[in-house]
Amino acid sequence: MTIWKSVFAAALMALASGTAHAARTDLVLGIPLEPPHLDPTAGAAAAIDEVLYANVFEGLTRIGSRGEVLPALAESWMISDDGKTYTFKLRTGAKFHDGTDFDANDVKFSLDRARADDSTNAQKGLFAAIDTADVVDPATLRVTLKNPQGSFLYNLGWGDAVIVAPESAETNKEKPVGTGPFRFDRWAKGSSITLVKADSYWGEPVALDRAEFRIIPDAAAAVPALLSGDVQALPNYQLGDALPQVESDPRFKVVIGSTEGETILAINNKKPPFDQLKVRQAIAHVIDRKAIIDGASGGYGVPIGSHFSPANEAYIDLTGTYAYDPAKARELLTEAGFPNGFKTTLKLPPVGYARDGGQIIASELRGIGIDAEIIPVEWADWLKQVFTEKDYDLSIVSHTEPNDIDIYARKDYYFNYDNPAFDKVLEELHLTSDGAKRKELYGTAQKILADDAVNGFLFELPKIGIWDAKVEGLWENSPIQANDLTKVRWAD
């Protein structure tokens, strides 16, 4: 009898283990742009971080899914009372994927490399405040700043500030070696980049064994790839007309989130007649944000009234500063001395929101007599003509770097904006680390930009993600440009 019982039990167990199949542990994600190389500390291309940030490389801190600063390779930190000395207590037991140990020397090396004279770090400015970085012991690093910097911990969370090892820094472009929960496996150029689980990871192990980023440049090709099951997630695509096709399909989740991309009608503030506040106000009054969002972004995207992300807790809604009012716009233009409008140009980079939004804005401007000739340009051309040489009147572009209101305080930036009052607020902000005070200063800064109508503030670029309904843990929003896979798993 007992024998039969145990046989029966064994059979049941076998059956149970057969039916309770394990959840999938691989994921293929489609991304529209291929990274030019795989070193986040040597290039601005968002695609680099979208593959490697938080997955392969980690910084002292990291940015979480809501834009918050979290500890990463720094377990904790102490800030001196004058706000100038940061003492970081580092993780012990963390290893680089080539087997070498992580310690304070690697951190010092990474910070020094990023701010060196011959550094090719795309965000070298993030490290400008650092005076010295000293190794106290293998698990402690002390950074001294030239002046207090409120955003220092946030800055260290950028992809450009990840920690690399001296042994592998030079070869990271081809063969990235980090400390993250995934290690780099293979890059089939033009096709895909594969990451696999790093068994030596110091933290909580990831649920995925294998993650492949497949490069699919064309949204029209990405959708059938998803439908056929070749890829299981498209975390960030401007899908346009293809969206309704997937939206109605219960096999997929469509997730509309926010990015840090302020989409603006950039105005050359020093070039007449745009040097007149009234002309810029007139332009602001003639912008119908809803029409632009509908026409250029498929109806998705939050209207903005200044250069600030609505996802940020310091955001204030200033879209009412110069509400849509063509009559008022015409009045202002007449006061400025252009009762019949004027001729100008609108240079548009090769992205959907700019090309489509440009048509709408040009027709809105025509309504008050401003005849804007549309000039389509390539990215390289845009960077040269508009960004570097400031040879433009109007342009449309999305500023995707997080928390980048400080660009308005930069001398010689392509907006040609110069307002000492704004600079003062930013300077104060720079030196303030108190949360409430910072929030207030951010508010003031937003207000100044809105009042000055520096640029036409249009909308926050949405993050449109589609993935298999069983995939969990992908980011809904994009506080930084990344596809953090650390919490991604397949539901059973």
Binding site: H37, A44, D117, T120, S191, A221
Partner: protein, 315 residues
């Protein structure tokens, strides 16, 4: 024959040199700084300058031209600005996708087009001719990216027979690799086949009206035998010309198809490199394409000589 070939080879070499000068100067003129492009809008000027020095962009035009052409002679194409790997390596990887794709597409289009052309020519003016040429006309008119998407929805999404796109690499095995190439090859081949079918039909019809065909028929050869044995061979000259042109087109002009099927081919490499101002890659790929077009033309010229014995003796 040798003199004829020699003349073709010399003219090919001259074309190459001229092309290298044109390609290099034209790309120098287009605006855009690869270093700034790579580091983006937030980069400081000294970081951009440091990268320019690293890329060798701070040197003069002539120095870079001779450096580049000197390298080409030894088959050293230089180092990609964006990828920072040897350009030769980059191209070699892509050619392993583009070349088989072009060859399969060419074989497919020939295998479809010539029988259709012969079939239509033999039934000139009859309904079969009209119908097959009407179909060919539609084939010429259909944009291939649209046709490609139709194929994807039918065979990949609905029937799930092949992947929707991508390329697993030859190391994944011949089977999966060919499976990934078959839809793109069909999408490329059909419009080409349509053109080729029309050309072979009209060439055949012209030849069929010639005296020697009537002679052959008079000597008792059947219609079909005369067609296959005598007419087809003589109709091959214009067909070969078109084939040569098509192959060059298939190698270089597959950009759209490579995008729809996201294949890592030469066409996409060039487009990507142009956008990123990875000039050295663009220059080298264009030179390679020029060289292969010249080579293909040379092969076509040699094929003429095989098909047409007069060319062999005349020169």
């Amino acid at each position: 024959m040798t003199a004829y070939l020699l003349r073709r080879i010399v003219s090919g070499l001259v074309t190459l040199v001229v092309a290298s000068i044109v390609v290099f100067s034209v790309l120098e003129v287009i605006p855009g700084d690869p270093a700034r492009l790579m580091l983006g809008m937030n980069a400081t000027d000294d970081a951009v300058q440091a990268l320019r020095v690293q890329m060798g962009l701070d040197q003069g035009f002539l120095i870079r031209y001779f450096h580049w052409t000197g390298g080409l002679l030894t088959l050293d194409f230089g180092k990609s600005y964006t990828y920072s790997v040897p350009v030769g390596e980059l191209i070699a990887e892509r050619v392993t996708v583009s070349l088989p794709l072009a060859l399969i597409a060419l074989a497919l289009s020939t295998a479809i087009a010539i029988p259709v052309g012969v079939f239509a020519a033999a039934r000139r003016g009859k309904p079969a001719d009209t119908i097959s040429m009407a179909v060919a006309q539609v084939g010429v008119a259909i944009p291939n990216f649209w046709f490609a998407l139709l194929l994807v929805y039918l065979f990949a999404v609905w029937l799930q027979l092949v992947p929707a796109g991508g390329f697993p690499g030859w190391q994944a095995g011949i089977g999966p690799a060919l499976k990934a190439l078959i839809l793109p090859a069909i999408a490329l081949a059909l419009p080409q086949a349509a053109i080729l079918a029309r050309v072979s039909r009209s060439a055949l019809i012209e030849v069929l009206g010639e005296d020697f065909i009537r002679m052959a028929r008079a000597k008792g050869l059947s219609r079909n035998a005369a067609l296959w044995r005598h007419a087809l061979r003589n109709a091959m000259l214009p067909v070969l010309t078109i084939l040569g042109l098509q192959f060059a087109f298939l190698l270089a002009g597959t950009v759209i198809i490579e995008n729809v099927f996201y294949l890592p081919g030469v066409g996409r490499l060039v487009v990507q490199a142009i956008n990123q101002r990875d000039l050295i890659v663009v220059e080298s790929v264009v030179m390679l394409l020029v060289a292969s077009v010249i080579l293909i033309n040379l092969l076509v010229d040699m094929a003429y000589a095989v098909v047409d014995p007069r060319l062999r003796t005349r020169a």
